[in-house]
Amino acid sequence: MNFLIALAPEVVLTGVACLLFVMAALPGAGIRRAAPWVTLLALLAAGLMVGCRMTGWAEPEGVRETVLLSGFAGYIKVISLVVGVLLLLVNWPTNRDGSGNPTLSLSSEGPEYFGLMLLSITGLLLVASANDMILLFLAIELASIPTYVMVSISRPISVAQEAAVKYFFLGAFSAALTLFGLSFLFGTTGSVTLTGVANVIGGWESMPGWLILGGMMLLAGLAFKLAAFPLHFYAPDVYTGAATPLTAFLSYVPKAAGMVALIRVLYALAGGMPGELPQVFVTTLWLVAVLTMTVGNVLGLMQQNVKRLMACSSIAHSGYMLTGVVVLFGAASIVDRAGGLAGVLFYLTAYGLTNVGIFAVLMMLPAKPDPFVYDGKVPPATTAETFSDLAGTGRTHVGLGLVMAACCFSLIGIPLTVGFLGKFYLLRPALAGEFYWLALITVVNAAISAGYYLRILATMFLKEPRAAAGGVEAAAEPVTANLRTRPLLISAIIAAGLGVLLGTYLDAASALRTLTLNSLDVAPRAVDSSSEGELVASLSE
């Protein structure tokens, strides 16, 4: 019973997901149209429960072995649900028969799609609080496996099927690596919980080689979820193949799950004290962070398709977040370590909010299918993807242009957007913790990324609209409809609005920052409340 109370939000989400699967078996458009509303209610209910929990429900007795209800988990759950609602809005089926929307072709699988979406979000929530390593692994997979299915049902075309298969096989490969790594943790420490592993490792003088090998495997397996170098290469193909609203989902939920799992597993490997992680891991993380952001940004410069470009951008942003992880485990001073973690948490929110906005805008713009991707046919569920689709749209759709501008500037890290603060909070502990090269490479990467984000804006605002430029011929070519649905508009406005509000009205940003600072208790050691706890108090005074 206690277990159910502790996991109440996850239980609700899973229950509703099952309900949605049942609904999918029933005929009728009404059922399909009800599915997103049911999903929304489930997310809100779960949000309410997490909110209550954060404001101080006592932790149920006797579940610590399996799940940990830390402030860290609470924070991750809150932002997952908030971004989850935005992602749901982007995926909202607006067709009369509930079969998706012009950018998402679900036919009769609508309720299943949303059920899978809930399951994936549940996985992310569980990752944040699973303490048992088997539960952790299952949670990671719960966040990922539904997405494989979602990719394949999101569009009835071969590109999507190809993407799904690619995603599935590589995902299975990475799952195997993760599981293998976790088995090493169990094998060397004899404990099946992360706290147990941490306690055992904390008592050791040095780390056995097997454990380092296992840790490296874990890193590799989770790097796939993060789309981090060297397991990043699937991202552009999968992101392009999936329907655009799903791409928005893919670029957040599995990534966040990977990031959270990575931090928690590394905590265990460090024996619960992040400063004591063996240097070899810190060095590896450093390399992975630097290579991830650099490879992502350089690839981004070369893209001709905006969805591929956003895949590269998503790779690069994983790299930025990894700098915070490096500082968390590598910095000498406890203040800087805490700053690193708080930076990652802040960035997760900043990225999650503004990333959705870009995809929402892409969905709302009229498009001509990319001949390189679709062999000149006009498949269902296509959105603006190429730069020629975007040409001049900042003039013809001023509001969408402004949303895109706000989101792009936020992702570059221009002041007055939340992205600037995100970079600031990552760079500050990095510089204070004497990771000068890391900070330098990060800022250089921010400059490189400006190259391709600006190209989006330049195409939208500085180029002539396509119809005007190409004359009658271009106007007669097949173009998808200009999609203006209320859920999409709402999500775009929320994304851009919050992005700018948090960047300008610093009281709001300060509230979010305080929230991150109160959520640094990743893995409270069973034994002592230790200095990490005091630190949290000192930072959030």
Binding site: G339, L416, V443
Partner: protein, 525 residues
Amino acid sequence: MEGTLIWLLLIPLAGAVVGACLQGERAPRWWALLVSLATAAVTVVAACEFDFSASGQVQLLVSPEAFRLPEAGISFTLGIDSISFWLIALTVFLMPLAIAASWESIASRRKEYYAWMLLLEFAMLGVFAARDLLLFYVFFELTLVPMFFIIGIWGGAERQYAALKFFLFTFAASVFTLAGVIYIGTTAGQGAVPSFRIEDIINSAQSGMSTQARYWVFLAMLAGFAVKVPLFPVHTWLPLAHTEAPTAGSVILAGVLLKLGTYGLLRFAIPVGAGPEVLGALTPLLGVLCLIGIIYGALVAWVQQDIKKLVAYSSVSHLGFCVLGMLALNQTGIQGSIMYMINHGLSTGAMFLVIGMIYDRYHTRDINQLSGLAKQMPRLAFFFILFTFSSIGLPGLNGFVSEFLTILGAFTSPHLGIGYGVVAALGIILGAVYMLHMAARVIFGPLKVPQGHHGHDDGHSLPGDIGAREIAVLTPLAAAVVILGVVPNVILKTLEEPVAALIPSESQIVMVEGPAVVSGVGLGE
């Protein structure tokens, strides 16, 4: 007035937002003019409140609550000393003129254009009014966004390339500045909370930091500011951006945006790097870069066929003087340098305006196709020649004072010395050569009809002289050019105190007279 500086920023910002929502073709430009004049009026109020007898003090301090992030050490603190004040005055002086100059020449998407102009004004004023390094950086970066759109949408043929190059060049360089800013803020703070207040930053740099750290922070700041100025090897974005920008864009770019770089150098980089180990070691090198910029900019300007590009390259040359004066690190040099910022803003801004007026009529800026404009347009020719003289530095006009002071500063500086002064003076001669060369060919000589401009279809004659609106735009500039040439003390006097506060203490200068100078080009005093 309560919180004058807040109003100074709020008016253009609110004006931009309201202007973006206005309907109609004519309303936006009147609105923009009104807002920019209102901003100028607020500056006059600020001037009345500002106590010029204590011009070195930071005055009119305000710090509203809602925009602080105490935990991150970010304080929204505004305040001005006389250096800031005069640069703000320059900004609010040029802005209405730039808007009036866009009156007819900006024909498409006016609403957006004027909104971006006002937003740009907001950002520029913010840079000069900020008393918090991070706030300064925020505004510094923010200027890129409106300028990107102004160049990219309303610019010349290569506007898209120019806009991207402008943004990427300056942004790529200033991210290093960001790293430096965050680092120094962290060291200036207490415990986990950084501080970006200018006083704390400079205190920390001059007392707490190691030489090596100061060296790197100085270089990081230099990276962003030198590109903005621009100093010699990183100037390549400037000619393109200046040439492709619309007239008003060029005026603001040359008039104010370049000064953000010199202001940043003066306000932050030099105090942080003060002392023999950092500035002492780098001054000879930087001075040489300035000299190369002066001579190279002048030589390249000489051979330009496009008169706008010529003036753009002249900016490279002129900003070399400006930074050279600053590097002299003595009262004369720095005062001259600040004067140079203002005077260059006036005379180069004015040159761009006049050239824009020529272009509006002839649709060419090719030096080979323009000739004898004095016959056709005597009034325009008068202003053209006046601003050319000002740019050259003819005694009696504003340019002379600042050129003289910067070179005098370089001559008498223990850091630079005679060698620098002589080469810089050579730059003045070259400046006269290329400017007069251009003026002579464009204004005098036989009247030429530009190719492809064989009158209009009815065959009637060339376009007429400048009209009342254009005279109204140029007259205030002409007046300022003459007044600052005759009584430069209006400004110079008030600069004494803040400059004295900037100059590193006596002991540091004495130490520099050792080996650091011998290794340089100069001979010392």
